[in-house]
Symmetry: C5
Subunit: 354 residues, 5 copies
């Protein structure tokens, strides 16, 4: 949980727009890559400093500047000057705990969303902030660390296949958002499998670990929901608000991402319902097992207590106990005991305890 409001504390009290990196430092140094393309050509290179971005800003081609690593204040500040960005935008970029949102500044659009991945080793959801600036002719994207879900997008750009090279930077923005949302389905599938595993475990051999696992899954779903839910509104804003930077023919694609986001949210809700159901079944099965244990205890106690009582009676040392002296006394006691036992068993069977 500390992952979510981790280091807001560091920032509290500072002047708004002061650049402080909030979040874990996940990358060693900042890496700036640019892909610049139009329908005919594509250039791909790694930049050493923000200054090298200037030509891309002024060229009529579409340029995608991707920055891995958010911890270097100088880089972000320089970028802000170069592209004339609002200080609050820079602050939000450096703060990795933002809520997904879309903001329309007159000359550019600013989008924040979350890249998710499931860390199988630590068995927890990894949440990485991905922010994106849409300027005329330029897209600048920010990631917390190297490694992302955009390789297929890059591949399509390189091959020059598909619409991506023909349409503008707004289509590229769509392609990136689409890649992010598509990736959510992989995380969801992973969680879906774990719910199924849990349900099988529940039938096979539920134990306290099962409860831990249910609880863990429930928490991951809470965090997942928190990361995806606000994205719905952000993408809806992109599609509906008639922004200058987004062409009308792109909105149909944005509607598609919107549909996918809704589907992700729907599935998260379904999973939450299912995990609740699994918890109910777990609790009931614990209760049922206890019930069974109680029955065994009761049957044993109920059968042996009267028998032991009878044996106790004839263990008494009274001088005058006529039964003790008869030959039939001992077998008769056995008979009585067996009869009592049989009656009990019949009674319990009729009560459906056996």
């Amino acid at each position: 949980m500390r992952r979510f409001i981790r280091t807001e504390r560091k920032k509290a009290g500072l002047s708004p727009g002061t650049l402080v990196h909030v979040g874990e430092k996940k990358a060693d140094h900042v890496r700036i890559r640019v892909i610049d393309y139009d329908q005919e050509n594509l250039e791909e290179r790694e930049l050493q400093s923000i200054d090298e971005c200037v030509p891309y800003r002024d060229k009529p081609t579409v340029s995608w500047i991707n920055i891995d690593g958010l911890h270097d204040v100088d880089v972000i500040e320089k970028l802000g000057q170069t592209f004339n960005l609002h200080p609050l935008v820079l602050e939000d970029i450096m703060n990795a705990d933002q809520r997904p949102k879309m903001e329309d500044y007159e000359n550019y659009i600013f989008i924040i969303c979350k890249m998710l991945s499931y860390d199988d080793k630590e068995d927890r959801l990894n949440i990485e902030q991905f922010s994106l600036l849409l300027l005329p002719g330029v897209i600048i994207s920010f990631q917390e660390k190297p490694g992302d879900v955009f390789n297929p997008v890059r591949e399509r750009m390189r091959k020059g296949k598909g619409r991506i090279r023909k349409m503008g930077m707004d289509y590229l923005m769509y392609a990136l958002l689409d890649a992010v949302v598509d990736n959510y389905f992989i995380v969801l599938e992973n969680i879906g499998e774990r719910i199924e595993d849990l349900e099988e475990e529940l039938i096979a051999s539920p134990g306290p670990e099962t409860l831990q696992a249910i609880h863990h899954l429930k928490r991951e779903l809470i965090f997942l929901r928190k990361s995806v839910w606000p994205l719905r509104e952000a993408i809806s804003g992109l599609e509906r608000e008639e922004l200058d930077l987004i062409q009308e023919k792109t909105t149909v694609y944005l509607r598609d991402v919107y549909d996918h986001t809704i589907q992700v949210i729907d599935t998260i809700e379904t999973y939450r319902d299912m995990v609740s159901g699994v918890l109910d079944v777990y609790l009931s099965s614990v209760s049922n097992k206890m019930n069974e244990v109680m029955k065994v205890l009761t049957i044993i106690a109920t059968i042996f207590m009267p028998m032991t009582f009878i044996a106790g009676i004839y263990g008494m040392n009274f001088k005058h106990m006529p039964e003790l002296d008869t030959n039939w006394g001992y077998p008769a006691v056995w008979l009585v005991i067996i009869v009592i036992g049989v009656i009990m068993l019949v009674y319990f069977r009729r009560k459906k305890w056996l």
Copy 2:
């Protein structure tokens, strides 16, 4: 649950509009059937290829092209070219995990919904995607596999009875949606019967299987809800958005389907409430049973423990135990024991434990 986000993974990262079949392959080969009619004539045939659709596209009559099987990329691609469809529409058609929706493209309307059936053998809900394109004079529908709920519609078309032959392709669209929604009632009736069975089982002989059945039903209702809920909005859109392709006299029929959809959703909610109620009763009855078991145990223990103690006392081997030598000792002990037993029984009866 894997049924729901099964194979999104396959698609993640591909270019938007790339045609990949997502879903189980439920049909061996693609089957294309066409029904072409106006008020006087009706022609019904099976097409070998999409090319044969072209004349129907251009004729003034109403044509219903139905395609069973979504796995063949070539067929869908060809269709897209023939009818000039947006690539995202084709992608959605091939992806059997879509959420019900209605989309208005300038020249055509695209609708996705779910055909439900209850598989009695496997005792689970089957969900098949049904998508529908409404073009001027042509309806194209897509199903995952042969076999559907539209035979009564076909029969009415063949017999030339009713409004269906007199009105346009928008009325046909309505007739198909109406058939889909009407079929939901059959699935609901099935589920309703199972809830009733559960309630009877609950009174007769509840057991751990009852819990499994409740849980199973709960999950089916979650999935059912997920399949039907968004349809409400889709049909409401058809009715209200003043679409060019839908005549005003058809909207009154669409309002009727809309009402039915609301009724289905209402009933699903009612069923969810009822299943929750059944679960509550089940849990309480388990708890009550345990209570009863506890009472028996306590009564037996409480009656026999003092008795056994008394017998134990006179089983001691002290030299000096005056009672042992008396003649009345033994019957007196029996008397004490019986008195204790009676007092206990009276006490329990007053506590309403018996």
Copy 3:
């Protein structure tokens, strides 16, 4: 529960507008009664066929045609032709499982609602569909069976007292809806009394029947809510949508019915909260009782087990047990046993178990 989607199955697949009676046949034959009135005169008669309705349709007076029994397709069809009704309206009239609604067809208004009554014998809620057509100068109402809540309305019409004879057919519509909604309060009072009874039973002697009764009540409230909730929207539509057939001076009366409907819904919600509360108390009281049983068991076991052990010790047959030979041995054992018992009792009292 089958009462609610009973026979939709019968209808699924038929052409829309096909007239099939859906619902239990509650009346033997269809009975048509008409009350025709203006400020001066009132005529009341029973019609033999729909044809006799024609004069009332064309007269300037207000006519109320009431039809008991929905099963006769011919009657409804004839009526449809006489008054030029939309086939979907006729279908809805014959289908007794409709959701309450209000529909504005250009020349008439169609309203569906539910008449409720509490069947004390079978101890269940009876739900009867009441539909109403408001045409210029004519009101046609449909009931499933003879017997209704409108006798006071008829009485007021006959006596010529009050506004009802002076105002138009829209006021009559209001009067009928008002009678239906007023009757809900009687059903609610009945349910309110049963909740009170339950609460008293809960204090006096709760048992498994109490749980059954709570569950039963909960279900009746689910169905009641389902029957009343959509009426809110329907009446709100009548009041707000500026319909031609409804005069402005009548809307203030409709606002009154609307307020009553809201009050009914409020009370249903309150009752649901209360029944939930009763269930909580029941479960807690079961749990408390079990707790008490456990305590008795534990006290008995805890007191007698050590005592029996001590008696057991001195029942052993070792040759060398010096205590056995002393005179004080036996009374000493009694002393020890009594001391142990007293210590236990003091301990339990301090733990507040006694």
Copy 4:
């Protein structure tokens, strides 16, 4: 609970606007008091009949006519004629089970709300209906019984201090509503104290009475919420709907009452959450206590059962039991028993049962 839909039954079926008193008769006779004032003078008197109201209706001063007791049909009817009120308004005034609401009739405004008080003796919430008519220059208010929360308002009027004498009848209406809402805080404080008491009782000595008290409080909160919730909308309507009878400078005061109402609702919701929390803690503490009881039982049984078994063994009467003849047999048995006991205790301590 019968307090809420008590006597609707009496009314069902009557003509709308028929005057029937619905509710408990709380006052012996109807008492009419009038306060008539402008900035210079104030006259206060008790009227014998409604006829005496006429001069106040026609004077330019502000008059507040307060009527205690709703049971007298004649009085209300006369009042209706004198001030030309709609019959439905009169009906609502006499029916003490109305939902709070605000209705704008062209020439007057009609407001219903609830005066609450906490009856410490019967330990229940008393709900009294307060309705108010705002006519030009006249306010007529209706209470079920003498005694209200308006004495401070009257005092301010008499003293001529503050704004009340300078502003119009709309400000007086505000002052009355403000007094009603301010009084809710006193009821809330009372309930707040009882929640605190409950929490202390929960720690000190929870018992079945605690559960009764929680349940009781929960119900009072349900009724409280039902009484206050709709007032929000009513006051919001007064403030926002630009009514002719309300001056703009008064709306800022109405916004203040509105804020207070929201605060009351907020606090009720908070209290409901808190009572739920208290219930959870109660149930858990019952469960914990049972757990503790179980542990004691198990420890006792687990320690003494093996010991008693060993004693039983050496109580057997076999001829050939070599141990019995040894001198060390008896102390050895004691040793074994003590060792078993110690091992058990260590085991339980390690399991944290002790």
Copy 5:
């Protein structure tokens, strides 16, 4: 809980606008500090009386008048006269139990919010009311006691760094609100840590104190939510309502505070879900532990009861018990007892009770 509607009672019945301090008296005397600045100069001093404020009101520079302590009626009244404030505003300032809100009076804006801090000693949330008046060129702020979260803001003003000295009094208002909301994150982090601690405690050694702690946390979250939730609407009003006193370039900053408020609310909701989850796990672990205790009890009882019975049998004193006289009798009994014990153990292992 009394902290929330503590002393409304004191006020109920008074004339609206009557100044009465509602809330705990947290400061000894009222302290008035002013910071007056423009881009070049900054003056900071402590005022002895409200009269000294007058020059600041009339100067073109921005002045921030901060008042610590709300209990002095004279001071607030004087202030009201000096700045011509509405009596209801003064009343709200003195009542420390207000709900956060924003009100637009024509010449000034009035904002109420809550300053939160976590009192580690008493282990509870401290809530202090902070109200703020935005007049042309002047900001007046009110705190219940000295000590606040604005020192970083003051520091930035003194150093003349950043935007704060260049922009108007609306930016100062933003800076203050931002400081308040930023501080919420610190409180949230504190609570987040306690949830983590609870979860660890839950695994290590849950006890009744754990339940108390969960309950305590749940209540703090209820109060936290009540304090923050309405702020959302207040800030949204500031941003959207196109108020004259707020320049357009400031709204982008207000949008930022709004985003932070949403994030705080989101996190509170997440925490509530998490605490609910923790409670579920706690209850299950209690139940699991009980289950384990029951199993031990049952195993012990089930193993020793038959054994003790057998020992009891051969402790009987019948003359004619042939087994007793054999040499193999005693070892045979031991054998039987051991065999029974082993069978039981195997049975329990197969049932997974061991």
